[in-house]
């Protein structure tokens, strides 16, 4: 307390400069969202194209109601939710089982396992070989094409492994003395004690599934199978270049587009402020030890 008060007394010109610059930066980051939200909330009946709005003349949720009743939006939304939920769950299973295996340094093949992980950190077969693999597994136009090829990655494995290694070995030993085998130790000890790192990785996996664009573009070519990001892209760009699409529905395309983009990022915007500390911790673990 004392320290803080002493500092506040010495609020110099330099401090004012810092605060002004920082405030300006914050505005640069927030303003686009406020603008998009306010346009998306504009009542479609009073909307005039090309008129400069900063805030709506009349607020209404009509645009959001329209989008949420739109079959292609809802379909792509459901696909994305499925991929995000199932994908994240499977990512966690594969990552933690393998990370636990990687902590066993005396196990046969330990070097081989570790070598594989490090290898993928440096080499990637590339777009076409990966595409051919997915194709040869008959996963094209299957939602599993966005889940199976990205089940885990070297960075997440290293984060999870470092975390498991920080759990005291005595805990594992005591469970073993009580008659637990490796799988039971993993399920009853390692997983419950890894909660903090699981929270971090859950968020990273979920965000990456939610935001995936390129894989969705090449693997899910069927319109019924497309994900939210691909749908939003087609609405944003393809509709604006061809001039068809949303205008047919007597809805101003601008409010529809803004509302769709808002909806596409809403889940992230909602969870982000609460989980920010986990995100930051997670990157630090990866950056320092990885």
């Amino acid at each position: 307390m004392f320290k803080k008060r002493r500092k506040l007394k010495h609020f110099t010109i330099g401090d004012y400069v810092v605060y002004i610059i920082i405030s300006f930066i914050c505005i640069l980051f927030i303003a686009p969202f406020i603008y998009a939200v306010s346009i998306s909330l504009t009542d479609p009946d009073v909307y005039v194209p090309f008129k400069l709005y900063l805030f709506p003349d009349k607020i209404s949720l009509a645009t959001y109601k329209y989008i949420l009743s739109n079959a292609s939006f809802m379909n792509s939304f459901k696909n994305t939710v499925f991929i995000t939920f199932v994908g994240t769950l499977l990512d966690l299973c594969v990552t933690y089982t393998f990370a636990y295996v990687l902590t066993k340094k005396n196990m046969p093949f330990h070097k081989l396992f570790m070598g594989m992980v490090v290898f993928t950190l440096m080499f990637n077969a590339g777009i076409i070989p990966n595409f051919m693999m997915v194709k040869s597994l008959h996963l094209i136009n299957s939602r599993w094409a966005l889940i199976l090829p990205v089940l885990t990655n070297a960075w997440s494995l290293i984060v999870a492994k470092n975390f498991i290694e920080s759990i005291p070995g005595e805990i594992e030993e005591s469970a073993r003395i009580d008659g637990c085998n490796d799988i039971q130790v993993f399920l009853r000890m390692i997983i419950p004690l890894s909660k903090a790192s699981i929270a971090t990785l859950t968020l990273f996996f979920a965000v990456s599934h939610w935001n995936t664009y390129f894989n969705a573009l090449i693997y899910l070519t069927d319109t019924n199978k497309r994900t939210l990001q691909v749908y939003v892209k087609s609405l944003l760009i393809d509709a604006s270049t061809t001039g068809v699409g949303v205008d047919v529905m007597n809805m101003p395309s601008e409010t529809v587009r803004m509302a769709t983009v808002i909806l596409a990022m809403l889940p992230i915007l909602v969870v982000y402020p609460f989980l920010q500390k986990y995100f930051v911790k997670g990157t630090m673990v990866g950056a320092v030890k990885g």
Binding site: I25, Y35, Y100, M122, G126, I127, I237, Q276
Partner: protein
Amino acid sequence: MARKKEFYRYRYMFVLAIPGMLYFLVFKIAPLWGLSLAFVDFNSFKGLFGSEFVGFGNFIDFFNSNNFYLMLRNTIVISMMNLIFFFPAPILLALLLNEIKGEHFKKLTQTIVYMPHFLSWVVIAGITFFIFSSDIGLVNKAILTSGGDAIGFLSNPKLFWWFLLGQTTWKEIGWQSIIFLAAITQIDVSLYKAAEVDGASRMQKLRYITLSGIMPTVVTMFIIRLGTVFDVSLDQILMMKNSFVADVSEVFDTYAYTQGIMQGNLSLGVTVGIFKGIVSMAFVITTNEVIKKLGYDGIY
């Protein structure tokens, strides 16, 4: 016998290893086989062994095509702009954030500037359109309202690279500043106290203690960035490119995608991928050596 015992002892661990092993074998190791396509004139009806072996023919054709120089130029320009203009930005932001005295204001600022990192390129591109496009862009609306003519910002090849740079900076400046902020907190506080006793000004402390204190981190991050210099964000370019900016937006990944997947020319797609992979690796190794010669710790 001892070995057999070892296997038996770890039998449950091998069960746990199955999902991860399968994943790596199927999706990381097996696709490497596809790299052999670069050395044949691949015909999907005849298969790999039925296709004609052309050695480095695909590479020679690729190097001799006009697109090669275009892509090389675009990749280098986009990366260099990122290195020169984007790389220092998070360092400056971290220094600024460090100068904030109020903890709450600092936390709030961090929450705000980290956030765009979690948005997809589709959303970022959407926001860009809302501000700059010629049909719904805020800037053009303002120009029209004040009686001017609409400007096609996003279809102007001269502005394309700057838009990429702006987007990258907006999306990642906050996130990238985390590592530098962490480095600043590692600096010994007594150094500042000693400098104060010696009568150092705020700017002097910033320059001689904070900035020099985080220099090793800056150097390490710079090497890592140089290593990924050929990794231009594919999602970002796919979102921002249009027929007006085709010449300035083509990079190796977009070419591998359009040639390999859309046109079905798999051999060419793989060739482009291998070229990119080798150059990237050469960058990592070379820069790491240079940095070691300069007396800093390398990344490996």
